[in-house]
C-alpha cells in the first residue's frame, strides 16, 4: 500500500497552510489523486497495450468467428449471412473429411513430435559437454528454426520429388524403386514430418540445453563417485533435472502440431496442397479450414473448423493437466 505524504500518521488530513486560503489544500488533494493514480493506474497502463491488441486481434476475431460459424456465408458476399444455427457443427461431425483430417493431424503430430523431442534431448546432451566452438554449434542448431516454412518446405518438396528427387535417387542406389512420396499416405506423412523435425529440433535442443545448465555440477560429481556411467547420469540426473522443461516443450509441440499447416500446403503445391493430396492423405485440420474458407469460399464452415480446433486444444490441454496431476500424486 502506498504511503501518502499528505496524510498524517493518525489519518487526519494535513494541516492547512496558516493563511487558510484553502487552495493549497485543494492542490494537495489533486496531487494526492494523481499520485494514487500513478501508483495504482500505471501498471494497468503498462499492460494495456498487450490486452488492447489481444482484444482487437484475438478476442474479437474469436467471438466474430463463432458468430460466423452459425451462418451460411460466402467469401465473395460477406454481407449476406443466412442463419443456420448449429447446422455447420453437426455437418462437420458427420463429415468424414473432418475425422480424416483429425486423424492425420494426430499421426503427423506424433510422427514429428516424438522423434523431434528425442533428438533434441540427445543433441542438447551433446552440446552440454565442454567442447570447442560451442557457441558456433549452438547457433547452428538454431538456424533451421530461423528458416521460413516456405523455403524449407519447397526444398524438401524437391528432395522428395518422385522422378528426379534426390531421396529417390539415393534409394535407387541401394536398389529401392522410386517411391511416390506424394501419393503414398505414409510416405507423404513421413516426408512432411521430416520438414517439421528439421525445423524444430534445434530450437527444442536449445531449450533443453538452457535447463541442463541449471543442474548443479555436484550432482554429476556425486553420481560419478557412485560409479554411474554417462548414460546412467543422463537418465538419472539430467532427465529428472529438466522434467519441467520437457513438459513445457511437449505442450508447445502439441499446440504446434495441432496447427500444422504451412508444411503440408507447400509440400503438395497447387490444388493438391490445399486438399492435402488427391485422396486427402495428408490433410490436416489447418488445411481443412483453408480448403473450406479459401477454396470453397464457405466462411461459415471454415469458422466451424476453427472453433473445432480451438475446442480440441482445450481438451488436449485439460487431458495434459489431469495426467500431470495424476503423475504428481503418484510421485
Amino acid at each position: 500500500m502506498a504511503i501518502s505524504t499528505s496524510t498524517s500518521p493518525d489519518g487526519a488530513p494535513a494541516a492547512a497552510p496558516p493563511d487558510g486560503t484553502g487552495t493549497g489544500a485543494e492542490r494537495q488533494r489533486r496531487r494526492t489523486l494523481l499520485h494514487r493514480l500513478d501508483l495504482h493506474g500505471a501498471p494497468y497502463a503498462f499492460v494495456a497495450p498487450f490486452f488492447v491488441v489481444f482484444a482487437a486481434f484475438s478476442f474479437y476475431p474469436l467471438i466474430y468467428t463463432s458468430w460466423i460459424s452459425l451462418h451460411r456465408v460466402e467469401l465473395s458476399t460477406l454481407n449476406v449471412m443466412e442463419w443456420v444455427g448449429f447446422d455447420n457443427y453437426t455437418a462437420l461431425w458427420e463429415d468424414d473429411r473432418f475425422w480424416n483430417a483429425l486423424l492425420n493431424t494426430i499421426t503427423i503430430g506424433v510422427l514429428s513430435t516424438v522423434p523431434q523431442l528425442m533428438m533434441a534431448l540427445g543433441l542438447a546432451h551433446l552440446l552440454n559437454y565442454q567442447l570447442r566452438g560451442s557457441t558456433f554449434f549452438r547457433v547452428a542448431a538454431l538456424t533451421p528454426y530461423a528458416t521460413s516454412v516456405g523455403a524449407a518446405a519447397l526444398v524438401f518438396t524437391m528432395l522428395f520429388e518422385r522422378d528426379f528427387g534426390m531421396i529417390n535417387w539415393m534409394l535407387s542406389l541401394v536398389g529401392i524403386d522410386n517411391i511416390d512420396f506424394e501419393n503414398n499416405k505414409w510416405a507423404a506423412q513421413t516426408a512432411i514430418s521430416t520438414i517439421v523435425i528439421w525445423r524444430w529440433t534445434g530450437y527444442n535442443a536449445l531449450l533443453y540445453l538452457a535447463a541442463m545448465q541449471a543442474i548443479p555440477r555436484d550432482r554429476y560429481e556425486a553420481a560419478a563417485i557412485d560409479g554411474a556411467s554417462r548414460w546412467q547420469q543422463f537418465l538419472k540426473v539430467t532427465v529428472p533435472g529438466i522434467r519441467a522443461t520437457i513438459v513445457f516443450t511437449i505442450v508447445l509441440s502439441t499446440i504446434g502440431a495441432t496447427q500444422l499447416f504451412g508444411e503440408p500446403l507447400i509440400f503438395g503445391q497447387g490444388p493438391n496442397g490445399i486438399t492435402g493430396g488427391a485422396d486427402n492423405q495428408y490433410q490436416t485440420l489447418g488445411l481443412l479450414l483453408y480448403e473450406e474458407g479459401w477454396k470453397n469460399y464457405q466462411m461459415g464452415r471454415a469458422a466451424t473448423v476453427a472453433w473445432a480446433m480451438f475446442l480440441l486444444l482445450i481438451v488436449v490441454f485439460a487431458v495434459q493437466q489431469v495426467v500431470k496431476r495424476v503423475l504428481a500424486r503418484r510421485a
Binding site: D38, A45, A48, V52, T77, Q269, Y297
Partner: protein
C-alpha cells in the same frame, strides 16, 4: 514521478492508436491516382499474361509519358483469385485493373458486377469473338472485362519418340492418326506403348489434360444455361471421364499433374511423348523443355477443336483513374497488341480482327520444328463452339475432376470409386 506518468500516458495513447489505426479503412482506393500531372495506374495480373513480360507496358508508358503503370504479377492463379475475392469483400486493396481468369468469369459477373466498370460499347472494342465477349456479359448486358487470349487446342508431340515407337512423325500424318475422335488418340497411345523401346517414356503426361480437351469441345460442361449443375448427367463429361480413366488405367500416362511439381522436369527430361496443348502452353513447354529439345517437339491438329482457358481484364468501379485505366485496357486488348503477344509468347488472340492479320495467320514456331501454329490453332479456333456456357464454380470443379483422375492414376482407385469421391467433393464445394 512525472516521467512514469508520461510513459503511462504514452502507452495508453499508443495502444488506443493501434486500435483506431486498424479500425479506420482507407476508403477503398485502388492504389492508382493522379499526382503532379502524372497518372498512376495499378494492375493485378497472374501467370504469364505477357503484358509485363513482353514489354508492352513499357511501350505504352513511352507513348504516354504522363502515365505510370505498376503491375503486380502473381504466379499462381488460385492465390491471385483468393486475394482478389478478399479484396472485393473488404472493398480495399484492389488495383485499378484486375485480371480475370475464364474459370472465375461467371462467378464475378454474377456476384460482383457492381464493382466493375461497364465496358460495353467502349470505343474501339467491337472486334472480339462474340462468344468470348458473351462470357463476361451479365444478364442486363453489362460487360465487366475485355478479352485477352483464348485457348484453342492442339496436340504437342515428340517427333523423336514417335519415330522410336514406329509411329509417323509428319504433323499431318500424326493428325490423321486421331482425326475426328479422341478415342483414336488413346488407341495411338496403346500402339506407342507396345512398340516403344524406351519403357520409361509414357505416351501422355496426364489424363486430366485429355479430360479437359474433351469437355471443352462442347458448349456445356459442368453447368447448363440456367446455372444448374449437370456434370453428373452431361454425356460429354461422362465420356471424357470414361476415356481419361481408360488412359489412366492402361498405364498410358506419366502420372503427372500439369503445372505441378514433376511436370517441368518431365518436360526437360522427356518422360512423356505427347501433351494436349492449348496455344498458351507452347511458351511454357519451350521454356521448360529447354534448348536441348528444340526441334524435337512438333504440333499436330487435335481430333476436335476446343477452348481451354483465356482471360479478361476488368476495370474497378472504385478506381480514381477509371478513364485512363479503360484506355489502357482497350489498348492492351487491341488487335495489334494481341497479334504481337501471339508472335512473342503464343497467347492466341481473342480478337476477330487479329485472327485475320498476317502476323497471326502465317506464324510459325521455330521451337516446334517450324510448325505453322497460326494455321493449326486458327483452324482449331474456328471449331470452338459458338456458345460456351460458364458456371460459377467452374475453376474449382475442374480442379476436383483432375484430382479425381489422379486417384485413378496414382492411388489405384477404380474409376467408380474415384467418381463417387469426385461427386461428393463437388457437392461440398459447389452445393
Amino acid at each position: 514521478m512525472s516521467r512514469t506518468r508520461a510513459v503511462a500516458a504514452v502507452s495508453v495513447v499508443s495502444a488506443l492508436g493501434l486500435v483506431v489505426g486498424c479500425g479506420s479503412s482507407d476508403g477503398g482506393g485502388t492504389g492508382g491516382g493522379k499526382k503532379d500531372g502524372k497518372v498512376t495506374i495499378t494492375m493485378g495480373l497472374f501467370g504469364v499474361m505477357g503484358f509485363k513480360e513482353t514489354g508492352l507496358l513499357d511501350k505504352y508508358m513511352k507513348e504516354h509519358p504522363d502515365v505510370v503503370i505498376k503491375a503486380d504479377v502473381a504466379g499462381d492463379e488460385q492465390t491471385y483469385y483468393t486475394a482478389l475475392q478478399t479484396h472485393l469483400a473488404a472493398g480495399s486493396g484492389l488495383k485499378d485493373i484486375q485480371g480475370i481468369e475464364i474459370g472465375r468469369a461467371k462467378e464475378l459477373s454474377d456476384t460482383q458486377q457492381d464493382k466493375f466498370v461497364d465496358l460495353a460499347g467502349a470505343a474501339g472494342t467491337d472486334h472480339f469473338l462474340p462468344w468470348k465477349q458473351s462470357q463476361v456479359t451479365t444478364e442486363d448486358k453489362k460487360v465487366i472485362g475485355l478479352g485477352t487470349d483464348i485457348g484453342p487446342m492442339a496436340v504437342c508431340y515428340r517427333k523423336d519418340l514417335f519415330e522410336q515407337a514406329g509411329l509417323p512423325t509428319d504433323r499431318d500424318e500424326v493428325a490423321k492418326l486421331w482425326e475426328g475422335d479422341w478415342s483414336k488418340y488413346v488407341d495411338a497411345g496403346k500402339k506407342f506403348k507396345q512398340k516403344s523401346k524406351a519403357d520409361k517414356v509414357a505416351f501422355m503426361d496426364s489424363s486430366s489434360g485429355l479430360f479437359n480437351a474433351m469437355i471443352y469441345g462442347d458448349s456445356q460442361q459442368f453447368y447448363d444455361k440456367q446455372g444448374e449443375l449437370i456434370y453428373g448427367t452431361n454425356p460429354v463429361v461422362k465420356n471424357a471421364w470414361k476415356l481419361a480413366s481408360e488412359a489412366a488405367t492402361s498405364d498410358l500416362t506419366a502420372k503427372l499433374r500439369q503445372f505441378q511439381p514433376g511436370w517441368d522436369p518431365g518436360l526437360a527430361n522427356s518422360t512423356f511423348a505427347t501433351t494436349v496443348c492449348p496455344a498458351w502452353m507452347l511458351a511454357h513447354i519451350s521454356e521448360k523443355a529447354g534448348p536441348a529439345n528444340k526441334g524435337k517437339w512438333d504440333v499436330a491438329k487435335a481430333p476436335k477443336g476446343a477452348n481451354w482457358g483465356g482471360s479478361f481484364l476488368g476495370v474497378m468501379e472504385k478506381s480514381p483513374v477509371k478513364k485512363e485505366a479503360q484506355e489502357l485496357v482497350a489498348w492492351l486488348t487491341a488487335p495489334e497488341q494481341q497479334a504481337y503477344l501471339f508472335e512473342k509468347i503464343g497467347n492466341f488472340p481473342s480478337s476477330q480482327k487479329a485472327l485475320e492479320m498476317p502476323e497471326v495467320v502465317d506464324a510459325k514456331s521455330d521451337y516446334f520444328a517450324g510448325a505453322p501454329i497460326g494455321q493449326i490453332f486458327g483452324d482449331a479456333a474456328k471449331e470452338i463452339p459458338d456458345e460456351q456456357v460458364l458456371g460459377r464454380k467452374d475453376g474449382t470443379i475442374k480442379d476436383i475432376f483432375s484430382q479425381g483422375l489422379t486417384l485413378i492414376e496414382a492411388q489405384n482407385k477404380t474409376p467408380d470409386e474415384a467418381w463417387k469421391t469426385t461427386d461428393k467433393r463437388i457437392e461440398k464445394a459447389a452445393g
